[in-house]
Each structure stands twice: as structure tokens, then as C-alpha cells.
């Protein structure tokens, strides 16, 4: 496992996109903090970066990487290696290199400008989203052998989690306006890793009371220590479930 991981990471780092990604995150983070009037406002802008850009880049990069590694995978599958080891090495290589990119690109600026619990939760959520979307990408890449289609799927999945899911939630909210929906909304938020992270970060920001203002259930659930633990457990599930399915598919894949 370690050996293959080493080669995957070396390969990803040689691929300059991860370095460009790191620099992009660094540039955005620093400019956000130095341009916005307050660090708190900078954090609010970083929220969008973490919730949109990070998942998008992670899912697309990982999908393309998997398609481009077809030779590598083919070569190694004929070697005395467990397929599981190979696939987990690919996952581990992608997840760790993109996580390092995120930690440098966003973690360092946050540490400099906003080193508190909010900052920690923001970085932690971003880290989880990075790994979740690598996992989803691995799953998406298994759906089709056609690279273009695979990338299409990846973008569609990102669009779903970033936008369409929330549109559906909004639609449901209006459809079932007359019913108490708070508990249902808590459950809904677990169905989307981006929403889960967003709510976690928002509750750490000053906005918590605002959420409590109208949705006491939110505040009670997500604000409590149990809620935080359960939320991150939810994010961990979001890592392992797609990974599990992609692993199962890869175990049977013909190369």
C-alpha cells in the first residue's frame, strides 16, 4: 500500500495541476483576507471558495486523473497486488495530495488571519469536502469507460451537490410549507456533504443565533457537541460510502 501510494503521490506532484491549484487557493485566500474590510468578511468569502471551488476542482481533477492512469492501473493489476490495495492507493494519493494543497492554500492563510474555532471548522470542513469529492470522483470514474462522459458525470455530480440539491430542498420547502420541516431539514442536510459543511461553518460563525432565531432545531442539533460529532461522522460516511461502491466495482472491472 505504502509503496504504491508513494508512486501515485510522486506522479500527482509531477502533474503540475496540483501545484497550480495550491497557488490558486493561496492567491484567492490571501487576496480575500487583504481586500475585505475585516477578517470575518474574508471568512465569509472563503466559505464560497471552500463550498464551491474546492469540490469542483477535486472531483474534476480526480476523475481525469483516474482516466489518465488507465495504463498505470492496467500495469499494476497484472502484478502481484490486491486490486483493493491499488484502488485505495489511488484514493489515498489523490486525497492526500489534494488535502495538502488545500491545507497550504487555505489552511495557512486562515491560520495567519483567523486562527480560531471558526477557522478550524472551516479548514476541517474543506479538508473533508476535498476527500469526499475525491471519493465521489472515484465512483463517478467507474461509471463509464469514456473519459469525456466520465468528466461530464463528474461535473453533473458537482452541479447536483452544489446547486440542484438545494433547489430541490427549496422546492420541497414550499411544497410542504404547512408542515413542521425542521427535523426533515436536518435529515436533508445529511444527504449533501456541501450542505453539511456549510451549516457546520455557519454555526461557528456569528450567524448561529440567526439560524436559531427561526430554526431552533438546527441550533439545538448542529450547535451541540453531539451534533458536531454526528455531522463529522456524516462527512466520514460521505467519504466511505462512495469509496466502498467504487471499490466493489473496481474489484470486478475488466482491464
Amino acid at each position: 500500500m505504502k509503496k504504491i501510494l508513494k508512486y501515485v503521490i510522486a506522479d500527482i506532484i509531477q502533474n503540475k495541476i496540483v501545484i497550480i491549484y495550491t497557488l490558486l487557493l493561496l492567491t484567492i485566500s490571501f487576496s480575500v483576507f487583504s481586500l475585505e474590510s475585516s477578517a470575518a468578511k474574508g471568512m465569509a468569502s472563503l466559505l464560497n471558495l471552500v463550498l464551491l471551488i474546492v469540490p469542483l476542482i477535486c472531483i474534476i481533477f480526480s476523475t481525469i486523473y483516474i482516466y489518465n492512469s488507465a495504463e498505470f492501473i492496467e500495469l499494476l493489476v497484472s502484478q502481484p497486488l490486491k486490486r483493493k490495495t491499488l484502488w485505495l492507493s489511488l484514493f489515498g494519493g489523490l486525497a492526500s495530495s489534494l488535502s495538502i494543497a488545500f491545507l497550504i492554500g487555505v489552511g495557512v492563510p486562515v491560520l495567519i488571519y483567523h486562527a480560531d474555532l471558526t477557522g478550524l471548522v472551516l479548514v476541517l470542513s474543506g479538508l473533508f469536502l476535498t476527500i469526499v469529492f475525491v471519493s465521489i470522483a472515484l465512483w463517478a470514474a467507474g461509471m463509464t469507460r469514456d473519459k469525456a462522459k466520465g468528466i461530464g458525470w463528474a461535473i453533473a455530480l458537482w452541479l447536483f451537490f452544489a446547486l440542484i440539491f438545494d433547489a430541490i430542498v427549496l422546492f420541497l420547502l414550499f411544497q410542504f410549507q404547512d408542515y413542521p420541516l425542521e427535523n426533515a431539514m436536518v435529515v436533508m442536510s445529511f444527504l449533501n456533504p456541501i450542505d453539511l459543511s456549510r451549516i457546520q461553518i455557519l454555526l461557528q460563525m456569528d450567524i448561529s443565533a440567526l439560524m436559531g432565531y427561526t430554526g431552533a432545531v438546527f441550533q439545538e442539533f448542529f450547535g451541540s457537541l453531539n451534533g458536531i460529532v454526528i455531522s463529522f461522522a456524516g462527512l466520514i460516511l460521505w467519504i466511505f460510502i462512495p469509496l466502498f461502491f467504487s471499490l466493489r466495482r473496481f474489484a470486478k472491472k475488466d482491464l
Binding site: 488507465a70 492496467e74 502484478q79
Partner: protein, 247 residues
């Protein structure tokens, strides 16, 4: 040594392997022949675990392979078209392969690396290599870890005559050590002095499976290519498809 039991595989609607059963033993050198798309490569990939069969089982030295991936340590595989990570250099690739085989006590067999002159271009990236050079790398890797079984898919395709000859010599050397060698090739003439057994595949089935002596005896031909041609002709007339001709 390797036993296939009722292996079947479909790609979509197309049946690529149709309930194939056979045994290959140590010391044999088997030529796997047949027209394009007859399932040769798929069968090899099945043995290597790259293609997962729909049904049937593969037994390697008495153990079923889908339970245990370690049997691949004993197989050297040279693919028809070697595809390698583009950014890796030859030396990286070799290093990685050594890393994968955990057993460091085994001294790798680097004879082909030297005789192919790969050690002079060892820091070139795979992307920059010609098709023939890539094949040389594939060959070198296949022989590197003293495998008990060698599976060579069109080994000489794309190699220049000198390299081809060097490879052939190497194959003979290994064969004499009592290894099982499985070769697919279209160029029957080169197999003459190697092969002990012929397996002919068509449409995912074994059409026939015969030791070379029997074959030559039956057909009365000394050259393998002629023997095959003879046997094919007799069969084809049976199947009334005389328009197909073999080289």
C-alpha cells in the same frame, strides 16, 4: 500447474470465452494461436486476473486464484501493447516493480536490460520511448523476477530482428529451466524451435490442443506454419469455408 475450469466471459452480448477448460504444465511451451478477436488476449488476461470471468475457476498450483492474488508473483507478463505511466522513467518503473515484489533476497534478472541496451536510456521517460523500445521494457520486466510462468502476448511484434532474436534466445533459456511459457503470435515461423504444444482458439473455444510432435506426425509437415495451414485447410473444408487462407 495452471488449470482452467469452464471459464466463460461475455463483453456485453459478445461471448469472448465459451466454457474453456484446459491444463498447462511446467516445462511446456504453449503456442496460443487463432484469428484476431478469438479470445486469446482475454484468456491471458483472465489468467492474470485483469479480466474477471463470469463463471468458472482458475487454479494455479492447486489454489484457486480469485481467493489469493499472490500467485501473480510467479507470473511474468509481457503485454501485446505495453502501456505505462507516461511520466515515469524506465528506472522508476523498474524500481516500482521491484518495490511491489517485496522479496528483496531475489536478485533480479537484468540480462535483457543489458542485452537490449536499456541501461543506456534508463532515465528516459516512458512517454518518449518508441513502440519497439517500450516492448523491450515490457520484455525485460516480464523476465525480471524469475517467474515460474511466462505469458508473452505477441512478444516479437514491433521488435527489430536483432532484439527479436535476443528475446527468442532468452525464451529458450528459460524454457530449459523448466518454466511454463505461454506465447501468442501470428508469426508461426518463429515458434518452430520453441513450442511443445499448440492451442488453437476460435470464437472463444479451443478448436484443438495438441503436442507439436503429434501435429507434425498427423500432417507430415516439418514446419509448424505448414502443419497449421494443413490442419486448418482440412478443417475449413469440413466447415466449407475455403475462402479463408492462412499465411
Amino acid at each position: 500447474m495452471i488449470e482452467l475450469k469452464n471459464i466463460s466471459k461475455k463483453f456485453g452480448k459478445l461471448t469472448v470465452l465459451n466454457s474453456v477448460s484446459t491444463r498447462f504444465e511446467e516445462g511446456e511451451c504453449i503456442a496460443l494461436l487463432g484469428p484476431n478477436g478469438c479470445g486469446k488476449t482475454t484468456m491471458i488476461k483472465t489468467i492474470l486476473g485483469m479480466v474477471v470471468p463470469d463463471s468458472g475457476s482458475i487454479i494455479f498450483e492447486g489454489r484457486e486464484v480469485n481467493k489469493d492474488w499472490r500467485y501473480r508473483e510467479d507470473i511474468g507478463y509481457m503485454p501485446q501493447i505495453g502501456r505505462y505511466p507516461e511520466n515515469m522513467t524506465i528506472s522508476h518503473l523498474i524500481q516500482m516493480m521491484k518495490d511491489i515484489r517485496k522479496d528483496e533476497s531475489v536478485i533480479p534478472d537484468e540480462e535483457l536490460i543489458r542485452s537490449f541496451g536499456l541501461n543506456e536510456i534508463i532515465h528516459k521517460k516512458m512517454r518518449t520511448l518508441s513502440g519497439g523500445t517500450t516492448q523491450k521494457v515490457s520484455a525485460a520486466l516480464a523476465f525480471m523476477f524469475h517467474p515460474k510462468v511466462l505469458i508473452l502476448d505477441e512478444p516479437t511484434a514491433g521488435l527489430d530482428p536483432i532484439a527479436s532474436l535476443k528475446l527468442k534466445e532468452k525464451i529458450i533459456k528459460e524454457k530449459e529451466k523448466g518454466k511454463l511459457i505461454l506465447i501468442t503470435s501470428h508469426i508461426l515461423s518463429e515458434l518452430d524451435d520453441l513450442v511443445t504444444k499448440i492451442v488453437y482458439m476460435n470464437d472463444g473455444r479451443f478448436l484443438f490442443e495438441k503436442p507439436i510432435e503429434d501435429l507434425k506426425e498427423e500432417t507430415g509437415e516439418e514446419k509448424l506454419s505448414r502443419a497449421i495451414a494443413r490442419i486448418m485447410q482440412s478443417r475449413l473444408t469440413q466447415f466449407t469455408q475455403p475462402q479463408i487462407q492462412l499465411a
